[in-house]
Symmetry: C4
Subunit: 269 residues, 4 copies
């Protein structure tokens, strides 16, 4: 095969893998997405006893085949690029490599302790697919909203943690171990479950005094829960206007600003 | 009967059925609404064992009578119109026909598997009544709000699903089958129940490590829940101003715009 | 006693009872508030078996004394006014009379079925005290916010009710009576408990299919719950600006407007 | 040691303790923060039976050592200042003293009833560290938001309390003691648990009538929960603009205003 034809093939594969705005590139992305979803489903179903017992072999073959596909894809990715080293050590280069390794190891060593790593890396792969689309911009706005509200939110969280700690200790003293509030950490866990309105009901106040304090807590958090919402909404509105608040001094700056016009703080854009 | 008098009757019925802004048309709409509500209540009560056993015959007669009324109404609807075929195959024409068929079939074949279809179609009929009123405009604003925030919300949902999957897997590894986290899908179900603050309490963390991770999750979702609220509020504010954000580039456009003034994207109005 | 001195006494009592902006009037209001609160607490504690058994007589005497005070106050209210009939048949005149009657009847006839009436009327009395303060204005803004968002909220509620009905029926068919979803009304109750994120856990899905549908429901309501918040926030912002949206056509009108400048609809101010 | 060298040492310690913007001052703050966190963790773990039984001695030694450090730090704080009396009786001076006393007493008298006091004082110490940083400004904005919405929120809370009381009484009459609604206070506790969407499930309606009323309650609170969010968001938006609403008459004032331009009310800045 002539060097010319190899170069042509390389170029064609390059377009398929890296150019997501072409028809073939899109097809490749969709196929990759489906493979990863099948992979994730296989991992999940393997954790269900019934499927593990009856379809365990099938699920393991699926795992094998997909790991194989990932390895082939990874080598093609490297092969078609000129600046190989740079790509291998880039963020997504490492994610792609790591996405292969755990299931590779998992094929030889039994155990479930790698599951979280596998699933996280697979999900990162999914995000890397969407990275190439215009969805990213919306994500950036969201992250920017959260970042520029961060100093407000951190004060809020610190205060909430303080309130939770005091309330947890109070409930521990009032209710005591015989009503499920066995120790302060458990009491704090209960307070968090209550104040976030999750309310499992695995622990709940029994004494009248405990119920009164629980009631006051819930009523208060009724107003408190509105605070972060208000902060982020105000931020989202600014984003819509195209303004961005300075993370340090909260001065509103124009859309394209890189530094705050008042205090010179770098603005994350 | 002369052709003339038939035409007069036809016209009178047409006004009653189709002209909801006349007095008679309104009365017909209200009567129809009541019949459908009685119908829905009959279907619901029939599912309660006590009523099924003691009033089963009455409920079945109600069903018979109402199905009869629907058939009569459907034939009148077709009869008074000139362009019959067009109406029969229109969206509501099909809904009206389908609204009759299932209860018709249900009269001969026993079974509850058609219930969802029946109830959905009956509810669609109710919506078709309100369709004719000025409520629709408000509904449109709501739908427009949701649509124009869709790209933001989809990024948000994707991220939330990723977080839920990772957290679910983590809790499965930490808590394990002996504490109710039998497999990854169940763990993900628990994570969703927790992160949406529903908190049934059918499954809840028991190990200290599980409770710490659950606590962090709940605290985080405290801030996360504010995100969609902020997005939709910002959108609702724009709607109030009469502005509408471009679904692609988020530029604010005037009330009557059909295409974005910046990027030319079609705006859903 | 001269007619003159009676008139002076009358006037003095009038000031105490009706002029809440004087020092004596304020003291009277506070005293009245305390008496009503003691009354409410007495009614509540009487429902607790322990207090009913051991302090029943004390609580009944408190009830007697307070009813006596209310009767005396009512007669003084009437006595000092010139236009007695008008006051007796005004809204608060009737509330004051009704606030006495039930406990009066309750002294002779045993039974708890009047409790809700008693408590509601006592609370209305508390509101009548605050009515005279500048708190009312804030309450009016709130009510105006809710009223002027009403058409939006009603469309929203109608859609939510439709979704709840369909989901309830679906879960009834999927889960069935053996998992607690005994009939459609109970299923709808479960759907409401879930979609409002209350989540008692008295009924919860057991089958995988039911858990999947429950999960989707909860995720959806995550976005849905943001809708009324957004609507009311947008309304509250308009109120702050002093603008008020027309309840019919949503045009923003100036602060003091009584009729919409566009469609002439009466604006509730 | 010459008087000169003592003064130099005094000055050096003064910088370390009080000047948090110097490198040494920052290190001291971080060290103090860590000591308090270790202290808090020791108190919490001591409440867990397992740690109390096996590591009780270690935890008590940690408590001893840290109390010792606090005493030394307190004396240094007083020693280096010129105006000692003023500092001792200042807010944080008293907090620092009180932060030592309870654990000092706790060393001699056994018992857990001082726990809440200890933890609250320790948390106040943590806040006093952050007091010196620019976080305070954000906290002030939050507090200002809440304060200037207070009159709106208080009307809202009063109405909610009234609704809760009436609903609680109603549910007590409908469900009765045999379904867990033993008395009115317990019923009100259940109503609060429901209306705040916590939903423990320790008490839940059983009768059809009770479930219908519970459903309506939850649906209503769906809209109600949006009210405080809307109020605080509107306030937060004003804060962002730099405007601040007058706590009395709600007129918007410029950023640096100390008194309302309309009614002259003092503005909390």
């Amino acid at each position: 095969m002539s060097k010319e034809s190899i170069k042509r093939i390389k170029n064609r594969i390059y377009v398929i893998i890296f150019k997501s705005n072409t028809r073939k590139g899109k097809l490749f992305d969709v196929a990759l997405l489906l493979v990863i979803l099948v992979n994730l489903l296989a991992v999940m179903f393997d954790s269900v006893e019934y499927y593990h017992d009856y379809y365990g072999t099938v699920l393991r073959i699926v795992e094998w085949v997909i790991t194989g596909l990932f390895i082939i894809e990874y080598f093609f990715r490297i092969w078609v690029l000129n600046r190989k080293a740079k790509y291998i050590f880039s963020f997504y280069g490492i994610v792609y490599l790591l996405a292969i390794l755990p299931s590779f190891i998992g094929l030889f060593i039994a155990g479930t302790h790698l599951l979280v790593v596998i699933i996280t890396l697979r999900l990162l792969r999914i995000f890397s697919i969407f990275q190439m689309n215009n969805y990213t911009r919306q994500g950036n706005i969201l992250i920017r909203s959260l970042l520029s509200s961060w100093s407000k939110i951190s004060v809020f969280l610190l205060s909430v943690i303080a309130v939770i700690t005091v309330l947890g200790t109070l409930m521990y003293l009032i209710e005591g171990a015989e009503n499920g509030f066995s120790n302060i950490p458990i009491s704090i866990y209960w307070t968090i479950v209550t104040i976030t309105t999750v309310g499992y009901g695995d622990i709940s106040p029994v004494t009248p005094m405990g119920q009164i304090i629980a009631s006051i807590t819930m009523m208060l958090c009724y107003a408190i829960i509105a605070v972060p919402t208000g902060i982020i909404t105000a931020e989202a509105l600014n984003q819509n206007k195209g303004n961005i608040a300075c993370p340090r001094c909260r001065t509103e700056n124009e859309k394209e600003s890189n530094y705050c016009k008042k205090c010179g703080e770098k603005i994350i854009g």
